[in-house]
């Protein structure tokens, strides 16, 4: 009974569901930071007019000084009894003693913890919005195995009541992806979790686009009657699409160089894939099985692009050495598995083993529930690794939900750590974020206090919440 009520919803949202399978991750190099400088994304070269630009504006805020807190910087440090100061949307200083400017709001962090804002590389908030009716099922353009032409941002509903719940969990940035029905499902959008009327007001300025690709069971199930209906059919489908994209790119490159005659016809599908070939659009690849990850890494080599992250990388631990060698990250869950054949070999130590092998691990959610408690997923994966005797630090674990996902999204130069000059995406926790009992108490998004558990004035409600739902954030 209730199984149908409870589980069905959950599983539909995640990896199982036809309509909303999760996406795959993309990649990264070994634990060493410094992402390959993501070319600042400037739309595809085949068009020079503005394309749905971000209208996000940072809110003016007084400077904030958090004192006497334990600070996890995600740069290798855990500072006790320390302070962090941010002003004008930027971190100014982190350290043992930071003098309070006269105009600063001082927050006493005694007994509390501070981390960078949490980043989810894999969300469908806005495209599979609550209350979960068919009317808002906007995540899978399941009409063709290759729909690189669709953009997730054109489906995002900023009034999704799941957004404030995620903010209350300390999430400041997420990548919203199309679902995994298709081999190539469309462009992702990297957005800030802020109150907004339009998705443009949420779009993270300067974040490169990603493209969602999906391996395995979902595409071959969705298209079993028209193909692809096998994994070999999946591979043939990616290759055919990139062969076409190579030709498209060559036509445009030639025209851009010579400027002779009429420009080639625009093709939105090819524009996205040409962006991948040019290294401007990152590949975010839903891929569960290790052997399929190896196939996809070869596909990337065949066409000369990189896979930034595999997502739902249940078997990343089996090929962690390949991930490290290819500089591809693994976005994983702590303990979800078994819900389908390709999710069968889930283990609790996945993130720990990937990290230990020198590859970049990320904890992602693909879930409107999970995104509310990403620190808990991190903690589960951390302690599982420690108990299994895998060398691992708390700092490495906190990076799974901050610095590493920032790298996957190509925004690690801007956010994801607490150090001077980074954007002030900051979470104050009621206690150790590695404990089940701790809650995000205050959340600043580029300096803007978007959530305060102790002050209802700073608890945002979407229009859907108004007049009909309970206060969602509990106590």
């Amino acid at each position: 009974m209730n199984r149908s009520v409870w589980l069905a919803g959950l599983l539909a949202a995640c990896a199982g569901g036809q309509a909303q399978a999760p996406a795959a991750p993309a990649p990264v190099p070994p634990a060493a930071p410094a992402a390959p400088a993501a070319a600042p994304y400037t739309d595809t070269l085949s068009v020079d007019r503005p394309q749905y630009p971000s209208t996000y504006k940072r809110r003016a805020n007084p400077p904030v000084l958090i004192r006497n807190a334990t600070i996890l910087t995600a740069t290798g440090q855990e500072l006790s009894n320390a302070s962090v100061l941010f002003r004008d949307g930027k971190v100014v200083a982190v350290g043992a003693s930071v003098p309070a400017p006269a105009d600063a709001q001082v927050v006493d962090g005694t007994g509390k913890f501070v981390t960078p804002g949490i980043i989810d590389t894999h969300s469908h908030l806005g495209v599979y919005a609550a209350p979960g009716t068919a009317a808002e099922s906007d995540g899978n353009e399941a009409t063709n195995p290759v729909t690189a032409e669709v953009w997730a941002e054109h489906s995002i509903w900023p009034q999704d009541p799941q957004i404030p719940l995620a903010i209350a969990g300390g999430v400041t940035v997420m990548q919203v992806l199309p679902g995994s029905a298709n081999l190539i499902g469309g462009r992702s959008a990297t957005v800030r979790l802020v109150p907004a009327r339009t998705v443009q007001e949420m779009k993270f300025p300067g974040a490169p686009y990603g493209v969602k690709m999906a391996c395995g069971e979902n595409p071959k199930r969705v298209y079993q009657n028209r193909g692809p209906s096998t994994r070999m059919g999946n591979m043939a489908g990616y290759r055919a699409a990139f062969i076409q994209a190579e030709q498209y790119r060559a036509r445009w490159d030639k025209w851009l160089k010579d400027k002779k005659g009429d420009p080639p016809a625009r093709d939105l599908r090819m524009e996205t894939l040409a962006g991948v070939l040019r290294g401007e659009i990152s590949v975010q690849n839903h891929c569960y099985r290790g052997d399929e990850m190896a196939q996809m890494l070869d596909l990337a080599k065949e066409f000369g692009f990189k896979i930034r992250s595999f997502h739902h990388a249940i078997e990343a631990y089996k090929v962690a050495d390949l991930l490290a060698a290819n500089g591809t990250a693994a976005s994983v869950w702590s303990d979800w598995g078994g819900f389908k054949m390709e999710a069968f070999d889930e283990i609790l130590e996945n993130a720990a083993l990937v990290t230990h092998a020198g590859a970049r691990a990320v904890i992602h959610t693909d879930s409107p529930d999970g995104i509310q408690r990403m620190n808990q997923d991190m903690a589960k994966a951390y302690y599982a690794g420690v108990r299994a005797g895998i060398p691992l630090t708390r700092d490495q674990a906190i990076r799974w939900i901050t610095a590493n996902p920032a790298w996957v999204l190509g925004i690690d130069q801007l956010t994801g750590t607490l150090e001077a000059g980074k954007q002030a995406d900051v979470v104050l926790w009621s206690g150790d974020p590695f404990s089940v009992y701790s809650k995000a108490e205050k959340v600043w998004n580029e300096g803007w206090l978007v959530f305060d558990r102790l002050d209802p004035k700073h608890q945002y409600k979407t229009d859907f919440n108004i007049g009909q739902t309970a206060p969602g954030v509990g106590r």
């Binding site: 009974m1 199984r3 149908s4 409870w6 303990d335 083993l353 302690y383 009909q468 309970a470």
Partner: protein, 422 residues
């Protein structure tokens, strides 16, 4: 699938070895006298006891306290610094009913909507790899509700140990399920009003059938709204001998459930109850326990009032709250669901009750859920607070037997600790 099969057969071999020892005359493990000493015991029936001993024999708890006489020959287990709790009871479990969540491999559901006679018990696979995984979360006992709309069937209660279904079963019919949520609207012809009318028709027909069996057999009775075997299966509930577990989320559905409980004098338990907090005092007044998932806070049209402190508000009103969990991480996460209930305002002691004594009381499993002399020796030794991520189950006993904590997952982990493989 081959991998799975081979791992499974390895494990079965392990069990056969244990069984062989029993046959050879070694004392069955459950019959051993075991003394767990030095730990902090949370008996649930009373306050925690520091530096206490739990004595078990023949699968039962014999004594708990600081002044326990340990017989010579008892196996001693040093639990200094550890926490000891009863084994947890998951009231909305799934492990054992089919192969994980694989499509087509489930066993918890049959077609149709009026199936009170269906019991999934014979679909339970004692060798399911999900069972040892559930035990790593301290789950020793489970209720396995069938799935599906309206009257999907009976709920068996099992221990998560044993080679055959008979070894596992505690009670075949621990409850009957009625779903009054939005999922059952179709069964009522498209409206909740229709669903309620159909429930009453079935209940009334069952009572009529019971009163007039001879007339029924002579066909001297108007046609009934379900086959005799289904009406028969409703009778224990209507006679107050069996629990009716009613799934409902919206406040109006919960109030409809309370109406049925009152009208037919049922032993009701509410399941899911997303908007339960809105009528917490009504539920408390009716003395009806609630099984719920404390992390459910996303609004939908089966419960716009979802909120994280539902468990807390119900408990504060005096409702007996039972915590369940439903995420794809599996049963093992029940303890974290309890921890999250505490995070959202519930007391730690209430949360422990909510996965031990409360489900035992609600489903008539009186021998379970506490550590007291005479109770079944299902217990767990934890490295620390069982609700937090930093702790783990170090020893799990079911009916006094120490269970292995290795799983399919730990075998995979150990195989791939170093890559590439040698």
């Amino acid at each position: 699938m081959n991998t799975v099969r081979s791992v499974r057969s390895v494990r079965t071999v392990g069990r056969c070895v244990l069984a062989g020892m029993v046959l050879l005359g070694a004392a069955p493990l459950g019959a051993q006298t075991i003394a767990i000493t030095g730990g902090t015991v949370y008996p649930v029936s009373g306050p925690k006891i520091a530096n206490a001993t739990v004595l078990m024999n023949d699968g039962k708890v014999v004594a708990v306290g600081t002044n326990v006489n340990i017989p010579a020959g008892a196996v001693r287990v040093d639990a200094s610094g550890k926490w000891i709790t009863p084994g947890f009871i998951h009231a909305n479990a799934n492990a054992g009913l089919g192969v994980a969540g694989l499509n087509g491999q489930g066993e918890g559901r049959v077609q149709g909507e009026v199936n009170p006679s269906f019991n999934p018990a014979e679909g339970i696979d004692p060798a399911a790899f999900t069972i040892p995984i559930a035990r790593t979360g301290g789950i020793t006992t489970a209720l396995l509700p069938p799935g599906g709309p309206f009257f999907p069937g009976q709920v068996p209660a099992v221990n998560y140990a044993g080679e055959r279904i008979e070894d596992m079963l505690i009670r075949r019919n621990a409850a009957l399920v009625l779903d009054l949520s939005s999922s059952s609207k179709e069964a009522g012809g498209g409206s909740r009003g229709g669903t309620m009318a159909r429930v009453r028709r079935l209940f009334d027909d069952a009572l009529e059938y019971a009163r007039r069996k001879p007339d029924f057999q002579r066909a001297a009775i108007q046609p009934l709204s379900a086959p005799a075997r289904e009406l028969e299966a409703l009778l224990p509930v209507l006679r107050g001998q069996e629990v009716l577990a009613i799934a409902a989320n919206r406040r109006i559905d919960l109030e409809n459930a309370l109406r049925l409980i009152r009208e037919y004098k049922l032993r009701g338990v509410l399941f899911s109850a997303v908007e339960g907090w809105q009528i917490a005092r009504q539920i408390a007044g009716a003395g009806v326990p609630v099984v719920l998932e404390p992390l459910r806070d996303i609004p939908d049209f089966d419960g716009l009032g979802a909120r994280l402190d539902n468990a807390t508000l119900l408990r504060e009103a005096g409702v007996r709250v039972i915590i369940a969990q439903g995420d794809p991480g599996g049963e093992r996460n029940l303890r974290y669901a309890a921890g999250n209930a505490v995070r959202n305002g519930m007391s730690w002691d209430d949360a422990l009750e909510a996965i031990t004594s409360a489900p035992a009381a609600a489903f008539g499993l009186g021998d379970y859920g506490t550590l007291q002399p005479g109770k079944v020796a299902n217990l767990v030794i934890w490295s620390g607070d069982p609700f937090d991520f930093s702790s783990a189950a170090e020893r799990v006993y079911v009916r006094g037997q120490l269970m292995p904590l290795d799983t399919r997952e730990t075998e995979l982990r150990d195989k791939y600790r170093r890559v590439p493989l040698p």
